[in-house]
Amino acid sequence: MAATRTETPALAAAQTGWLLAIGFVALAPLAPHLPGWLAGATLAALVWRGWLAWRQRPLPSRWRLTLLVLAGSAGVGYQFGSLFGQNPGVALLVLFLALKQLETRTVRDGLAIVLLAYFLALAQFFYSQTIPAALATAAVAITATATLLSLTDARPAPAAQLRRAAVILGQALPFMLLLFVLFPRVQGPLWGLPKDAGSGLTGLSDSMAPGAISHLSRSDAIAFRVRFDDAMPERAQLYWRGPVLSEFDGRTWRPRRELPRATLPYAEPASGGIGYEVTLEAHGKPWLFALELPGATPELAFATLDFQLLAKAPVLARQRYLARSYPLLRAGADESPALRQQALALPAGSNPRIRRLAASWRADARSDGDVLRQAQAFFLRQGLIYTLNPPLLGEHSADEFLFDTRQGFCEHFASAFAVAMRAAGVPARVVTGYQGGEVNPVDGWLTVRQYDAHAWTEVWLAGRGWVRVDPTAISAPTRIDLDLAAAVPAGDPLPLLMRAEFSWLRDLRFRWDAVTNTWNQWVLGYTPERQRQLLQRLGMPAPDWRAMTALLAALCGIALLLLTAWILRRQRRADPLARQWEKLSRRLARRGLGRQAAEGPFDYAERVARALPAVAAEMRGLAALYARLRYAPPAADRAKTLDQLRRRVACFRP
């Protein structure tokens, strides 16, 4: 419309201040995830802008800004090797937010900054979606909304703006809740994610070199949480099977390359088994973890010939799946000769000492079982020490570990044992995953952390199939029965939460974990699947998107009406006396005798009396009553008089 305000007014000082504030508040939660130079440059730009505003200096010229944008973009491109993708995208947004500040002249520029701040608040969730991150975002949302308020009306004081922003956002909460629960969820991704999505996630990798797992053991990040349907199995049975590594190059173990298949290569037993639900944290790799041995592939998952479960795509978001496992199940008795042959391969010339020893075991043994027992006895005899800080190993890692250093972490044990078995002619492979976990007494869920990462061995015995042998358990049985802290020698640096002197911290952590888990399950893990379950439980027989949208519209409408009533309530609460007088005037207005603005009660009554002699007396009486209530000093019977006026006005029919 032509009458719409088309000009965009220049910014007032208070508005500039707000825009700077939102710049700082939006940048703060992202700063740790940005390259240092970018965070520094952004901060410098904001400070520069503040200085220019304070000294009332002119803003930098356009060509200088263009130069800065180009330089910054080049820096981002150089840092990430690309301008596209998740991380460079966030970096560019930050850059634009900072540089846009240096050319904010009008309210429209201000609006662009607020929208950028909202985007950055969202971008923060690429890195963290925890409760603290949500609180940081709440701060951004309140500040950004206060900035929007100030762009419309710059006069109120900052505290008043913040308060109003908080109130308005508070009023938006019911809509948020309704939308969150009922907005038909779509399972992402809608299109391919950029290659760098999910970078910086921790978890087991697809190869195992000495030091790989002990590195993980310093992290107390959560790998996954488990809720058992019934009682939890014994701790010693909690082997969470992950990547199975069969190829060895003398130092590093790697998985066999094979195509995933729809089902596991063995049949699920008819009975027994432990049902549970895993909530797996994002780790950027496709593996799913299950207790040994899983009975079937979960929904939307694959399996391998190595009895490993795989997701269809790398796990870039927290993922839930149901599984059922059979701890006593032995599988692979009918393993193909080709696979068994592969599980014997050793690089030529590696680890000569253990090969010689293994050859002597084989010579004395009547069966593979005998060889296994001899190997176990040898590992026990060697007095190997389980430690988080093993010495570095050279070319023949198994030999050096078993005969020289004799100190290692689980990957040393598993690797050396598998090498020894292969050298003795027994098919063997390394299985990585997690062992154990910690029951949170607050909510009863089992929490498995990165420091529970473990590696063990599987050997193939004729007639029995693949049998789990955990060489770590031979030297450090407490690692399996208790936990890492019990198994490593005193003085080894343990993750903070594993140390005994911090038991109160652990207690606190348990509570916090339980809260976080609820948060994860219901806020972050509210998937299309969970939405359907919840709505079914709430009594919707077939919650499809149509039903959800209809319900959403209806409930939002109700919320809107309630909020409207609440916001307009003050206008209804007008002075009751004035309301009666208005009512009278409205009624008379139908006869063309509406009260005029400047007309007092008596003048009005006289005018009405002249025009409508039939009601003259009543009209004069009402005017007198009104005047007494309005102008006379308050009397004790005021309420009664008011009531009388109300009744007489109600009966008044001009």
Binding site: A134, A172, F175, L560
Partner: protein, 324 residues
Amino acid sequence: MALPAALRERFITWALRVRPPEPSPIVLSQRRVYVLPTRAGLGYAAALLVMLIGSINYNLGLGHVLTFLLGGLGVVAILHTFRNLVRLKVSHGRTPPVFAGEMAVFHLLLGSDVERRALRLWLPEGGDARVDVPADEPADVRLALPAERRGWLALPRIGLETTWPLGLIRAWAYCAPDARCLVYPRPAAKAPPLPWAQSRDTGKHGGGGRGRDDFAGFRNHQPADPPRHVAWKHTARRSEEAPLLTKQFEGATTASRVWLDWQATPEGDVEARLSILTRWALEAHASGFEWGLRLPETHLAPGSGQAHLDTALRMLALHGRDAH
């Protein structure tokens, strides 16, 4: 937004919902307050859409939360913006008359029982004004409109709008209060001198003339004074810088009188003649004498003072027009 002008005009007529002009006070009912997103609001909605798609694509649970919160904020903004305008009471105050060529300043009183902030009023062609309305205390708004022609200048339809609190939503309403401004003719820039002579000859209404006999005293000279009343002798006695003085007389017929007669103005354009009469009326008023006005169909008996001037100017303004 480029609706053809005629279509827009029809929309506005429809949007008013009442036949203008409306009796005061006008209460902006729910039905006549319109709400649409502003350009900023559209940008906001587009940003939310991008955020929603991003949240879905990256499976960001908290992203959904933030997007929905901001969506709720948009809905709440509609309510607040609507509330900021609806049930506003618009009445008009007195609008002082102006001369053609000046700006007519309309006073509007905005009353409300709740606080309203950052309202903007505008006229189709003319001024706009911004105002806050405190609770239970009417706010006075002045809207200026160029007064080009003499006669009644009705306050055209006014628009009221607000984008408070977030600037994302615009609520607006039209109203046409029954306010009008009297526009006097433009005083002629070059007018013949006051018709003293004619007035003496035709002055039947007061025994003629200026009561030359009874000298009453001096007062400062004003341009409209008849030259022969200037105290030339007195002035000559004094230095050149001394002010000119005018002799004042009192007699049986008391004040001097002058008739501002339509017939005395040069023949020609009606408006030009009215302009000259207006100039004369101002000069006559300034002279302090009694003066009367004769128009083709009506006349005003001689008198003096502000009220007399106002009456005369009103007659001139409404000459040949409907007085209502």
